[in-house]
Amino acid sequence: MNTRIDRRFAELKAQNRPALAAYVMGGDPDLATSQAILNALPQAGADIIELGLPFSDPMADGVAIQMGAQRALKAGQTLLGVLGMVEEFRRKDDTTPIVLMGYYNPIYIFGVERFIAAAKQAGIDGLIIVDLPAEEDDELCIPALEAGLNFIRLTTPTTDDKRLPTVLANTSGFVYYVSMTGITGGAIKSRGAVGEAVQRIKAHTELPVIVGFGIKTADDAAEIGRHADGIAVGTVLVNAVATSLEDGKATDKTVGAVRDLVAELAGGLQRARS
């Protein structure tokens, strides 16, 4: 398989640069503003985009992303709407990888086969589905891989060496290491432990390892970026949207708030290899 994700990591490797994966919620705070945010991410410094598929009951997410999902759903976002955002994005950008991140039920209800075809068509490169562990690979992972979509798995501090091979077996694109046991928005307890964990995963796979959960500042980015092939940020970006709103509505600051923060984090990440 050679996907936009594979190509992007090859480029980054050549440049000796860790990846910045930026998560935004598809449809937050409204459909048009969310599209503008998405379109602005590559320029601001995002190497990979994680696009959140809103779900009513995001069990692994903290308050910030829960609220982002609620805003998106209230704005009328749907699965088709999120795919439409990607299609629109692809008119101008055919290289930045987009990973759809969310929960299984909306996809299950849409229909797995129909979803895979539509996701490919729209220009999605990979999937992170939080509530589909390796034990449920037949549901979506295997059909997605067969169709040429990357299926990116979360590994966590509880995924020990014995379990890692099971988790990594059908993982492709990259491995997403969740820096802590917890929900999005929490704080990393020990940066040192993160580095060790990445090394542990790398002993089992050739795939790039990206670290996410709990990365909030440019300094975090610089520090964690030293130990990994990339970092993922989400909660702070969704919070940037939230704080830019007035009466729950987007303002002329909203897109800029996200763009500036991504640029700042990208700047921090540049220091990781220096």
Binding site: A60, F110, V130, P133, D160
Partner: protein, 404 residues
């Protein structure tokens, strides 16, 4: 009935009952639920575990719970004999304690130092707080803010038992939201914490485990009824929230084709009212939430609806996966009961039998009230009276205008 065609074989090794069930959880929790499954299998093989549970059931819970012939109600309904399996007489006032004792012993075996649980009506929260007091483990109970309001007596009981009660304001502030929050806590505190799920739902092995702990209801009932009447009952009935008292009642009868089985779902304002009921099988369709595939109330885009029921314990948009399977195979008939039907049944039972039922159980009774008159007088229907209604007297008093 041979084992191959038995309806009692589930789940399979993937935790599936047909297409339902499974392990749809975040990776962080996966090693833990595999651990739990191993520990549960080991405990099942351990005679000491069974003996301890039996001892607690007898001396702490007060089992066996009586099988009671509801004479006045029978005469009033003018059809089949009506019986109650009196789970409301258990210590803590409902069937929930059966499951809590089984699981707390597991938590102890696993060396866990903290317990969390979700609760709707507060009965499971009370039962959890109770066993945590007895076994000296700190516990945190997640309860929707709406439910905290409508089940205040149980909130006070939990607090007095030493539990921390965390009101959950997300969504409609009911059982679904409490379960989300409990799962978030669990993911955060995996190492120390045991999640004591209160119904026969969630990721494998919970549906199987909770069913096994509750199956004592049907097993006792079968024997008690045989002693009383020398045969099997013609029908058994239970209310269905997540479905633990129901599966516990039904399981012993699944392979008895002559026993009709009915589950009463929460029909709320009526099944035709959009988002106005919590009848997931009558009014929902299969989806994935809280670790399992099962019937769910949801919109066309797979977003979960809040649902509604007068009864906090039934106000949940899903149902345990084994019920979904029994619904598809048509072995069990699931029927919606409205808020008003449940309120009527609540009053009838109170006035005619001197038993104040939980609003949840009143849904089951409303189904019996519909069913008994259609049956012959030499037939019998047994209701699982899952809980007592002390917790509901204030809410019902308000509905009936007895309180300002």
């Amino acid at each position: 009935m041979d084992r191959i065609n038995s309806l009692r074989n589930g789940p399979d090794e993937h935790g599936r009952f047909g297409i339902y069930g499974g392990r749809f959880v975040a990776e962080t929790l996966m090693p833990l639920i595999l651990d739990l499954e191993r520990e549960y299998r080991a405990a099942k093989q351990d005679p000491a575990y069974a003996a301890e549970l039996k001892h607690l059931a007898t001396h702490y819970t007060g089992r066996p719970s009586p099988l009671y012939f509801a004479e006045r109600l029978t005469a009033h309904l003018g059809g089949a004999k009506v019986w109650f399996k009196r789970e409301e007489l258990n210590h803590t006032g409902s069937h929930k304690i059966n499951n809590c004792l089984g699981q707390i012993l597991l938590a102890k075996r696993m060396g866990k130092t903290r317990v969390i649980a979700e609760t709707g009506a507060g009965q499971h929260g009370v039962a959890t707080a109770t066993v945590c007091a007895k076994f000296d483990l700190p516990c945190t109970i997640f309860m929707g803010a709406t439910d905290v309001e409508r089940q205040m007596p149980n909130v006070l009981r939990m607090k007095m038992l030493g539990a921390e009660v965390r009101p959950v304001t997300a969504g409609a502030g009911t059982l679904k939201d409490a379960m989300n929050e409990a799962l978030r806590d669990w993911v955060t505190n995996v190492d120390s914490t045991y999640y004591l799920i209160g119904t026969a739902a969630g990721p494998h092995p919970y549906p199987e485990m909770v069913r096994d702990f509750q199956s004592v209801i049907g097993t006792e009932l079968k024997e008690q009824f045989r002693e009383a009447e020398g045969k099997l009952p013609d029908a058994v009935v239970a209310c269905v929230g997540g479905g633990s008292n129901a599966i516990g009642t039904f399981h012993a009868f699944l392979d008895e084709p002559d026993v009709a089985i009915y589950g009463a779902e929460a029909g709320g304002h009526g099944i035709e009212t959009e988002n106005g009921h919590a009848a997931s099988m009558t009014g929902g369709r299969p989806g994935v939430l809280h670790g399992n595939r099962t019937y769910l109330l949801q919109d066309g885009d797979g977003q979960i609806l809040e649902g509604h029921s007068i009864s906090a314990g039934l106000d949940y948009p899903g149902v345990g996966p084994e019920h979904s399977y029994l619904h598809d195979t048509k072995r069990v008939t699931y029927a919606p009961i409205t808020d008003n039907e449940a309120l009527d049944a609540f009053q009838l039972c109170t006035k005619m039998e001197g038993i104040i039922p939980a609003l949840e159980s009143a849904h089951g009774l409303a189904q019996v009230i519909k069913l008994a008159p259609t049956m012959r007088k030499d037939q019998s229907v047994v209701l699982c009276l899952s809980g007592r209604g002390d917790k509901d007297v204030e809410s019902v008093g308000k509905y009936l205008g007895l309180l300002k």
